[in-house]
Every structure is written in C-alpha cells, then in structure tokens.
C-alpha cells in the first residue's frame, strides 16, 4: 500500500499511502523538538535506572547509587513521626494520669495514642471496640469491678489482675463453693435463685428465702448485704443488669460452683509509663469512665453505677 504515496497538492505534504474510501492520511513530519523530547526521556530513563532501584536481577533489583528504598523511606517517616510525637509523650509521662483529662491537648493525644496501643495489645480479649465478651469485661459500660475512675483503671492496667508473680496485682479469690464442697448443689441452686432475685429477675419463693440465708452466711463479706459488690475486693455488683460471664441460671450455677478466676496481664513491665497512661485515658474516655475520687473524700461507695458516669 505504501507504493501509493504521493504528494498532496494543497498542502505539499506526502501521504502515507493508505486509502480508505477515498480518505487519505498526510504523513506530516513531526516537529524536531518532539524528537529531542523523546531522546531526553530516554536519557532521563537511563540516569534514573542508575540512581534508583531498577534492573531486576535474580535475587533483587539493582540498588541504585542513591541507595533509595521504600523501606528506608518508611523508616525515615516513622522516625520523623516518633520525633514529632516525642514532646507530647514526654508531657504525658510527666503529668499525673488523673490530670490528663483536664488538658484538652494531652487528652486528645492520650486518647489517640491509647486507641492505637489498645488495637495492638488489648483487642485480643476486649475486642476492637472494647466491647469485651464472655469473661472479658465490656469497657464501654458503666460497671467496673475494680473501679472506673482514671486512677483505678490505670492501676488495673499497670498491675494486671491475678498475676501470681506480682504483689501489687489486683487479686480476689471467690471460693469454688461447689467444687470444694462448701455448698451442696441444692444450696447453690437456692443461692442462685436469690442472686437472680437481687438482680430483679424471678420472684421471691421458698428457694430464695433459703438462698438469702446461705448468701448471708457465705457471700455478704465480699458482695455486701445488698449485693452491691465491693470494688476494693473486685467483687461484682450482683444487682445491676451487667454480667461478666452471663446472668442465666446455668451460668450462675457454674460460677458459684467453680468460681471464676479471670486473668489480665500486667502492662507496667511491658509498656512504658506514658503508654500505660494513654491506655488508661483511652479506656476512661469510652463512655463509662467515672470522676476521680479525691483522696480526702469518703471511700468509694459500694454503689457504682449509673449516677457515677463522668468524664
């Protein structure tokens, strides 16, 4: 087809020689700068492949004389981010944890830092939304075993729960009433009826009356006469709507029979103090955090609950 090349009269330009239903195409020469631009891109590409990783070899690509790598860039950015966060981390480290919520800037930083730390160390048990699960407390609600003000939360995180190798750990030991033969299955059944009555379920009956007697003899020392629990001993409030292991009859029977000995690691020896403070601030900010109790005031009232929700 290229034999049909001819000079187009009006333009003086040669045609490419193709013809489709009488339509021909002019072979207009490209401007020379276009060619030079093309050469420049080739030169640029060659220089680039020398400076940067480019040619694939068996194991890896050529490294390039500038030593650039995406890992290196990432590390640089991470280092820069750490350096940027250093002042606020130090400020958090200096500030007593109960004062962090009073400083909006520290609070924001601590909640953000706590949230990301939570996603690494805590979600395995408490869940990514801190909603917990059976045996793992929901940290969003207003029910706290060991206290819900920021200092109590901080203490719990720092020292953990039932760490056998640690003296300051949170420790409470409910007896395994059934397994250890303290109560008979019938007695356990009665006391469970009574506990359900305490939490507003079921009706008073002979069983609950017998249960009340057993409760008074065995449970009052920790859970209190009204069943409101005791945060000093980590004894749960039996009257509220929240159950750590479940409030149905079978679960309650299992709990009284075998006791529950949930464990949380202590983080004071794994994470630096600023990070523990950030975690405490984050957990405190989830919606159930309580106001800090001033030391001089009365001891923590046994009644936790709804009225105590505070920032």
């Amino acid at each position: 087809m290229s034999d049909n090349k001819r000079i187009d009269e009006p333009t003086g330009t040669e045609t490419v020689g193709h013809e489709w239903d009488g339509i021909e195409e002019l072979d207009t020469p490209l401007p020379r700068w276009w060619l030079w631009t093309f050469y420049i891109t080739i030169v640029w590409a060659l220089i680039y492949t020398i400076l940067f990783p480019a040619w694939p070899l068996v194991e890896r690509a050529t490294a390039g004389v500038l030593g650039w790598s995406s890992h290196g860039e990432l590390n640089k950015e991470l280092a820069a981010a750490d350096a940027k966060l250093l002042p606020i981390r130090e400020a958090i480290g200096r500030t007593p944890v109960e004062n962090i919520p009073n400083d909006p800037e520290l609070l924001r930083a601590a909640v953000a830092g706590g949230q990301s730390t939570f996603k690494v160390y805590c979600v395995q048990c408490h869940g990514s939304g801190a909603a917990g699960g059976k045996g793992y407390p929901n940290l969003n609600d207003d029910d706290w075993l060991w206290g819900g003000d920021i200092n109590a939360i901080h203490y719990t995180i720092e020292h953990g729960i039932r760490n056998p190798d640690h003296d300051e750990t949170r420790l409470s030991m409910m007896p395994a009433f059934g397994r250890d033969g303290i109560l008979t299955p019938a007695q356990i059944s009665n006391v469970v009826s009574y506990v359900q009555l305490l939490s507003g379920e079921g009706k008073a009956s002979n069983a609950t009356a017998r249960g009340a007697q057993i409760y008074a003899e065995n449970c009052v020392s920790c859970h209190g006469a009204e069943g409101k629990g005791d945060r000093v001993q980590g004894a749960p409030d039996l009257t509220d709507a929240i159950w750590l292991y479940g409030g149905d009859r079978d679960t309650l029977v299992a709990t009284v029979t075998n006791s529950r000995q949930g464990v949380m690691p202590r983080w004071g020896n794994r994470l630096d103090p600023a990070t523990v403070k950030m975690l405490a601030t984050y957990v405190h900010s989830l919606g159930g955090g309580e106001a800090t109790v001033v030391a001089a005031a009365e001891p923590v009232p046994a009644a936790g609950g709804a009225e105590n929700v505070a920032p």
């Binding site: 003086g12 072979d27 401007p31 020379r32 969003n140 207003d142 709507a241 919606g287």
Partner: protein, 488 residues
Amino acid sequence: MSHPEDLKSLKPSLYEARKGVYPKAVDGTFRRLKWAIMAITLTIYYVTPWLRWDRGPYAPDQAVLVDLAHRRFYMFSIEIWPHEFYYVAGLLIMAGIGLFLVTSTVGRAWCGYACPQTVWTDLFLHVERFIDGDRNAQIRLKKAPMGATKLSKRTAKYAIWLAIAMATGGAWIFYFADAPTLLRDLFTGDAPYVAYATIGVLTATTFIFGGFMREQVCIYMCPWPRIQTALMDEKSLTVTYKDWRGEPRTHGIKKAQAEIADFDKVGDCIDCEQCVSVCPTGIDIREGPQIGCITCALCIDACDKVMTQIGRPRGLIDYVTEESADLEKAGKPPKPVIRTLLRPRTIAYFMLWGSIGLAMLFVLGQRTRIDISAQQDRNPLFVRLSDGHIRNAYTVKVRNMENRPREVEIGLEGLPDAIMWTAESTRDTGSRTVTVATPADAVAKTRIFVAAPAAGEPRKDIVFTVRGLDAKGGEDKTQVFFDREAAQ
C-alpha cells in the same frame, strides 16, 4: 508552505525543524484591542493576589485565596468549603459553555486575544522587538555571527524574558498563600519548598513556551484548536482573506498591466506580504483557514493599512463568516454581523450559560452556613448500662461556616424517653439538647451518648438537629439509627 512541485524531488523528512517566525510590528484597531486585553489580563493576573478583603479576625484578608492547607477557597465575599466544590465545577461548566458561546460567534477569539500562551508570547515578542529591533533587524541578527553586539543583545533579551517568567511563576503562588507574608518568606528563604519548586517550574515553562516554543504550542501541543474547529460553523466569524476580491494578486500596477491582459480583473492584493510578516504564527492567511491561524487579526490591521495607502477599500482580510463569504462571492450584500451573533445556537448557549450562573447565584444566596452530620459507633453498636438502659454513641460534626465562633444547640428528635449527653458531661446531666461551642470557620467534633430504655424496636430512626444560637441562626438536621438488642 512551499509549492508541491518543489518538494517532489526531495525525500520528505520525518522530522521538521521549527521555521523562525519574526513578526513585524503593526498598529491598528485589532492591535490596540490586543494591547487593551493584554493590559487587562496581565493586570488581573499580577494584581489579584494583592487585593485585600476584610473578613474579620478569624479569616484571611486576601480577596482571592485558594487556601489548600486549610481547604478553603476565598473569592471576595464568597467562601467555599471543600464539600461545596460543586460551585467550582459549576464555574468550570460555565467556562466550557462560555467558550462554546465565544467560539460559535467569534471563532477562535480565545486563542487570538485571551489565551495565556498568546498574551505571554505577545509580551515576549515586544521585549524581543525592544532589544533586537523589528522583523528585518531580527532576521539580520539571527544570521549575523556571534559577536559582542549579538551576545549582549541575546543576554539582555533572555534576561528580561527570564525576569518576566519568574514574575509569572512568582505571581501564581501568591494565589495559594497570604501574598505579603509569602513574598517576605520567599526572600528570607523561609517559604515552603513547594513554593520555590512551583516558581521554578512555571519560570521554565513561561520562558520556554513564550520565548521559544510559541506557535509550536498552539499547533502541536494544544488540543483546543482542534476542538474549536469542530465547534465553529458557517455562521462563526473568522479571519478570512477575500480571495474573490484579492485575486489575481499582483506586484504593482505597471507589472499588472504587463502581465494580465484583462486589467479590470486585477485583484486588490498587491502581494506585499505584510499579512505574512506580521503573523505571530508565521502563516499565510491567503491560503485559507488553517490550524495555525489563532485569529489574532493582526493581518487585518496590516492589510487595512496597505489598502488605505493604495486607495482601496479596507477589509481585504477581515472577520467574515463563511455564509457571508459565499454571499459576497456571489455579489450579494453580506449578512449583518448582529444576525450572525444572535442566532438560535448562540442564544441557546447564552441561556444555558446564564441560567447556570443564575442558579449558582441563587444557591449561593440560599446556602446556610451551618451543617450537621452524625456517625453512629459501629463497634460496639450499643452498650448495656448497669441500670439496664441501652446507650448508643455518635460522633457528631457541626460545621460552623461563619467567620466567628458560635454557640450551637444540638437537639434530638424521636425516641421520646431518650436522653443525651456529651463526652465532656455526665449522664445525670443528660437532657434532650446539648449546647456546643464551635470555633470560627471550623468543624466542631462532639462525641454524643444517647441512652434509652432497653425495651423497644431494635432499630429506630432518630434525628440530630442543630440550631445557631446567635442572631444569624440557621439550622440543619441529620438522621441516624438508634440500635438496641432485639427482643428475646
């Protein structure tokens, strides 16, 4: 363009070197129009960032500012937030339809008068003439060997070009930051890296495009000439050489008498090549409409001057529509220009253009400067509280688009037995409304808890409302869900 016969013997090259264009200075109606448009457009470009506009203590006082860092666009009394970017889209649509309108009526007027490439090339051409002299002097200088004079002239020319180019690149960045501050920072070296980089790139492009590429940009790089060619019709004005009047062209009367037997039929064109020598893209308009013609109309000025000198009527080269050209060719009077300007197509474009503009103005006048959006916590969706109530949490964002801090009231509609409180307060202070302070021209993010009894539909619609508490008022609402456990 060479004659085809000359090329037959040559092997055509795949690549073509740029042919030098040395446009001659010219004066006339269209040249003056170009001066005026050049002055106006360059003034707008260089001066706009320096205009001030008082917006109070909480907003920048620059009249036109594209504040990328804070995601705000200021234009005199109008402030655009990122979510209102459709105004910019509307402006772009208006610009598009505006170009349709202009092109369908007056052809490539954008190319000839207002395009930055044209304006800056024109400016560079004037600098070139100022240093090197007019067309002939420029060609002589080009051919002359490099010597002291040529070197000094070249140096002077490039220096002035470079200064203009830097001023051009420099002016651009002032649209994106406070101009006086940025100017000071530029000289003290405190300006951001991107400012220097932008100036560098724009200096390079201005210098190269205005000084060297010139018409190559229009012919090879710009898609707009191709698009415009498709937009024009037989009623669009375009620069036309009236060949029916000009041909056969001659070199002087005596020569014409000798060469052409039928002297009465000698055309008006005296082949003086003035139209070619003034053309900034180096084309010969007498070859007819072509892609290289940006319709700057300088050839009209040049030809009119010659026609006046030889006592012929002006307008051998003129703005003519194809339709009128056919009429004139046939010896009939051309259609009046007003008839070609006002025709259904242009009127439709204008109505469309105008109605988009009016609609935007209307919406702009109607818009409220307060806005609420809420996002429900998904993990956990709801929380059972110790008294058995169910709590949902929401991240509520209130946009205060006024340039002053405001108090706003967030309210709750639906779920009559529910109360709400913010993360900063407590449940016992919960009520049906919360008051939030919003900073000036900012989004206030508030975490809001809503608690309601556990009994009820598993998923219920609730509405957060917001109301400005100052005199300006304004309100908005957003619908979200309240979730609780399905009844067992």
